[in-house]
Symmetry: C2
Subunit: 275 residues, 2 copies
DNA sequence: CGAACGGTTGACAAGGGTCAAGTTCGGTGG
DNA sequence: CCACCGAACTTGACCCTTGTCAACCGTTCG
């Protein structure tokens, strides 16, 4: 407990990282971590990025932060909180497509038109930092360096989605759930994968939507994982502690964990162990 | 039959579009269609792109055209034939992740490192045109215009994947299959969605891998769709003719068909009808 | 205190996997 | 030309995983 990472602390105490809504934002932005995952950021790069940011907005659970009508010309950096992009099917059901965690950049997928019918909604309360797409474009035009960063970040999201697809197609419900937990663990605790706790502020209904199963079955599978001694849930706090990482990896076939912590530019994070 | 599109003709008679292997390539490249889907290509743009192309290679069914060891520094434009990217799981099974059709650009997802453990293999014979990533990088550096094109193309692939994910999560087997057929129809017959034929040169085993179901069940679902009068299979030729487009749309919940034929820069294609 | 929400559990049914046998078709060799 | 073979497709019987429906419990909040 004493060695909680910054990311884990942010995850547990988001309010500590909030700032007043109306002030200009010059603080430390978490998405730097993700960006510097893919390209080396100099001090000047960070200054340039910071100059792009508009005033951060505090948002509530359930708020729609992006749609064809809302923030269409903006990218959003998710400083705190969880969000999802979803699509309304013809029968009115909302299908969740994608999940955004603190540090993720929202809106890359419809950067140039396309997918006008997705909307992004907050799953928890949080804080978002808007960017004008146009200004980022100008910045990319001036400095090719950022093109690399943006492309790599977009491709990284794409790879995560490919992983998820792979997971959904080829495993049964329990393995899907295990995989999901491991993915979140890797993303949330980056760059400190040795931390074995994570907070999962989602209802089992939402988890089910993400994994293509019912809330009832999510419950059954969670109980199953717990009864096998792979993890422990802290009831009522949404906390999960992984007890047997390797067994969970084996069950899930999560052989791409490395992808989430691979960082050619930053300090190499310690990892529990692997193959 | 008389009004077959260029794309449909290419699909039926790939050999007609082949060129001798060792000659330099200055012909008409099909990926222009896809790129011009996302950004306007001037004559000069096309010339610049053509200059990047290296000698095309004819490849056989089953050939691995890209892996961590093969063509790692190249992007490949798929001029003819179908390919898939797949991942080897710990039990040795090959899980298919993604499908590439004529005109697609292979390798964007691992443009900057990442996903070293995917490989791309041909599902049919075909023709590929290699590009050096590095040269495309230089081109993007010189002309920001191409950055837009590449980003948009990458995001388009990402959106298709999101669609597939959505499909897999939220529908039963029959609907998944219907959706898959409609996706292929839209991509193959672009920009002529009024053509109701498509060729599907895949075994039911491969289709099953893509959709997360067994070959046996693929067979059952296909029969089911046929018995409901939604489509007809031409036995032994892998041809499918869609008989009732709207009913198929309704069954599949394929409400994003527009995304595949939306072309802000080119001529607007006629579409059958929608919602 | 009661309503609302999310989680848990059980009984039952259905969708889809598994296994196995049979069929069709294209290729190969005598 | 025919016999044989393998690959892919088809079909049926059976069973397991997961969805459905419902009741029940615990917490939170007005």
């Amino acid at each position: 407990m004493a060695s909680l990472s910054v990311a884990a602390d942010r995850q547990k105490n988001p309010e500590r990282h909030f700032v007043a809504e109306s002030q200009p934002w010059h603080g430390y932005a978490i998405y730097y971590e993700i960006l510097s995952h893919h390209t080396s950021l100099t001090i000047r790069d960070r200054e340039a990025l910071t100059a792009l940011q508009e005033a951060p907005k505090r948002v509530k659970k359930g708020d729609v932060i992006k749609s064809h009508a809302r923030n269409a010309k903006y990218l959003l950096a998710l400083q705190d909180g969880w969000a999802c992009s979803r699509r309304i099917t013809q029968n009115g059901h909302r299908q969740i497509i994608d999940l955004y965690l603190p540090g993720d950049i929202v809106g890359l997928r419809d950067y140039h038109g396309g997918s006008h019918f997705d909307e992004v909604a907050m799953l928890t309360e949080g804080l978002i930092i808007p960017f004008q797409k146009q200004k980022l474009d100008e910045m990319m035009r001036k400095d090719h360096h950022f093109v690399q960063g943006v492309l790599a970040t977009a491709m990284h999201q794409s790879n995560i989605m490919a992983d998820r697809l792979n997971n959904l197609i080829s495993h049964d419900a329990t393995a899907r759930l295990a995989y999901f937990i491991l993915e979140l663990h890797a993303r949330l605790n980056f760059p400190h994968p040795e931390v074995m706790n994570l907070t999962l502020p989602l209802s089992q209904q939402v988890v089910g939507d993400l994994l293509g199963m019912t809330n009832v079955h999510v419950c059954r599978c969670l109980s199953h994982l717990e009864s096998k001694g792979l993890l422990i849930r802290d009831k009522n706090s949404h906390d999960i502690r992984i007890l047997n990482y390797t067994a969970l990896l084996a069950l899930a076939g999560f052989n791409t964990a490395y992808a989430y912590s691979l960082n050619p530019y930053g300090p190499v994070p310690k990892r529990p162990q692997s193959h």
